[in-house]
């Protein structure tokens, strides 16, 4: 099932001691700024009020609940959120703690605040806390990445693929054509895509985050003209499933990018956009002609499709064994119901995969994390633009995990050589 929510980019102050707000898209052009810290009285009340509202919303508190917990009159909190009353430091500390954030996180001038929750809630019906958490995680990580880019003065290169709205007719046929066209547009030929996260990040310029969260959610997608495509992938899932989620979200980027989505675990949804995205993922990861060719090569001389065939082909494409068999069925290379037959006869197990693939069976063909955000964070830390505490909060990481990541990304001693210096 797909849940859709519109994406909303929030704004930030850009110049010291002014009330000017700028859209996220304008932030990079501003640069500069004060080198000295400023007090609370210098922050625009409407800006801080909006940030407090977003933080309260993320903490899932009503104004009445938040005001009662903070010892404020509800009317006072309303006035603060509307910028009609300046919040005092003691009040700001209390509210920050109540909302699970910090004064620095709320008032740091460069902080970016993106909010998905209100648009999602407009869908109506029961609100699922798991979906809300995933949506918030995506918004937080995008905010973090934009803030890091701004701190480093980096202009992100985007390469948004052409839009291909879903047309009347068979969506699976359109998805097959669109996936082939996108491969041509990217110039990646018809071979297996072994690292779709890097493809999305580096070739398309999407913001991709692989994080561990509730297994009921496979991934999420949102798009904004200012920040581009944003994709969250569940790091708790197996590599081949993560690849499918990434390709599925890519399908939404191509076809329905103006509607943010959350991909839930479970049987495939029946909405046309959902069927399109699944067909697109399958066609993109296992292109028809290449699949037919490899199938012919691997099954040469065989009279039956074996588990070994499935294991080898799935491994070559970096997809799940189920996805591979269903693709063979769709391409009429295997009889309808083949996957169900395997399921009814003890399936195809990881033990069998290890017997066929040996050491390669355990290799993670999809990197466990997206690298770009980590590289930005390491550079910001190296330049002392953010502290360990600020970075840990920004990236929603445990401090020791953050230290380990920073250590891993530290250049080797000999990499400081002039010969390796990048041209400016």
């Amino acid at each position: 099932m797909w849940w859709c929510a519109s994406w909303r980019s929030y704004e930030r102050r850009n110049e010291e001691n002014t009330d000017i707000v700028a859209k996220v898209s304008d932030v990079r052009a501003m640069g500069g700024g004060a080198t000295m810290s400023a007090g609370l009285e210098h922050i625009a009340t409407d800006n801080l009020g909006e940030r407090l509202r977003i933080a309260r919303d993320a903490a899932k508190l009503t104004q009445a609940e938040a005001a009662a917990s903070a010892g404020l009159a509800r009317t006072t909190l309303v006035a603060i959120e509307h910028g009609q009353r300046r919040v005092r430091m003691e009040e700001l500390r209390t509210l920050a703690r109540l909302y699970g954030t910090t004064v620095n996180g709320l008032s740091r001038r460069d902080a970016i605040h993106l909010d998905l929750a209100p648009q999602f809630r407009k869908l109506g019906g029961a609100v699922d806390p798991v979906v809300e958490d995933a949506t918030r995680l995506l918004a937080d990580l995008v905010s973090a990445e934009v803030e890091l880019e701004n701190l480093l003065g980096i202009q992100r290169t985007r390469n948004d693929p052409p839009r291909r709205p879903i047309l009347p007719g068979d969506v699976t046929i359109q998805a097959e054509q669109d996936a082939t066209e996108l491969r041509q547009w990217l110039g990646i030929g018809a071979g297996p895509v072994l690292d779709i996260v890097s493809l999305l990040e580096l070739r398309i310029g999407a913001r991709v985050f692989v994080r561990q969260f509730d297994g009921k959610i496979s991934g999420a997608f949102a798009f904004d003209d200012a920040v581009g495509a944003c994709i969250l992938i569940n790091g708790n899932h197996r590599p081949e499933r993560r690849a499918h989620t990434a390709a599925h979200e890519l399908g939404h980027f191509v076809s329905t990018r103006d509607r943010p989505d959350i991909l839930r675990d479970g049987p495939p949804g029946q909405a046309r956009s959902e069927r399109y995205a699944n067909a697109f993922a399958s066609a993109f990861l296992t292109p028809a002609r290449t699949t037919m060719q490899l199938f012919q090569d691997i099954t040469a001389g065989s009279s039956h499709l074996s588990r070994r065939h499935v294991i080898l082909l799935a491994h070559m494409f970096g997809v799940s064994r189920e996805a591979l068999v269903r693709r063979l069925e769709a391409l009429k290379l295997a009889r309808p119901g083949t996957w169900d037959w395997f399921q009814d006869h003890d399936g195809i197990t990881d033990v069998q995969a290890r017997q066929v693939l040996g050491d390669a069976a355990g290799q993670d063909s999809v990197p466990p994390v997206s690298q770009r955000l980590n590289l930005l964070a390491a550079e910001v830390w190296r330049r002392e633009l953010l502290s360990e505490g600020q970075l840990a909060r920004l990236l929603r990481m445990d401090r020791v995990a953050l230290r380990a990541m920073l250590d891993d990304l530290e250049p080797a001693g000999d990499e400081a050589a002039d010969a390796l210096r990048l041209r400016g």
Partner: protein, 193 residues
């Protein structure tokens, strides 16, 4: 030695060393942790380290004293957390420095940016780091070289403790060259000279 104020980065290292109680017991002065740092540690329950529980035990036993910012401390805190990202600190780091500045104490903070900003703003304060605690004469005398070497190694290995350049020699001497090779948070030049 006077009063010291511990930042979260230091608490994490002490917890990983497994001798936090002995270090603080040997420290010849009052040891404080501010409310903001306590909250920060309580939030971090997913890590499995349970730093907050260790701190609660140290407070209960009197090794650690809770500190609260007064009016003057709050003003300093405000000046450290509000402003451009490059010139501000997170709440725990800022509160640690603000409390120390008002109390005339020494902040213990391993974070480079925190130390830089703190030293620029409060040049009269003596900023310490975790290795300064381990290397204090009183702590070395109370714990002994072998146990201290094990503790420092555990802080390096399990918490990726940061070591300032001036303490690298002491750290390698304490843990030995073989174990230094196993510590990714030490510079490559020290791990593999």
């Amino acid at each position: 030695m006077g009063t010291i104020v511990l930042d979260a980065s230091v608490i994490i290292n002490l917890n990983a060393s497994r001798i936090a109680d002995a270090v603080l017991a040997a420290w010849p002065g009052r040891v404080v942790i501010v409310e903001d740092t306590l909250l920060e540690l309580r939030e971090d329950i997913r890590s499995g380290r349970n730093d907050a529980a260790m701190v609660a035990g140290l407070i209960a036993s009197g090794r650690l004293t809770r500190g609260t910012l007064n009016e003057a401390g709050l003003r300093l805190f405000e000046s450290l957390v509000i402003g451009p990202a490059a010139e501000t600190l997170d709440d725990g780091e800022a509160a640690t420095i603000a409390f120390a500045a008002v109390a005339g104490a020494s902040p213990v903070i391993d974070e480079r940016k925190g130390r830089r900003i703190g030293q620029n703003r409060f040049p009269s304060l003596t900023f310490l780091n975790t290795t300064d605690l381990f290397a204090a004469d009183a702590v070395q005398a109370a714990i002994g070289a072998a146990a201290l070497g094990d503790a420092v190694f555990q802080a390096l290995r399990d918490a990726r403790m940061r070591v300032p350049p001036e303490r690298l020699g002491w750290v390698v001497a304490a843990i030995g060259r073989d174990r230094a090779r196993l510590c990714p948070s030490l510079p490559a030049s020290v791990r593999d000279p």
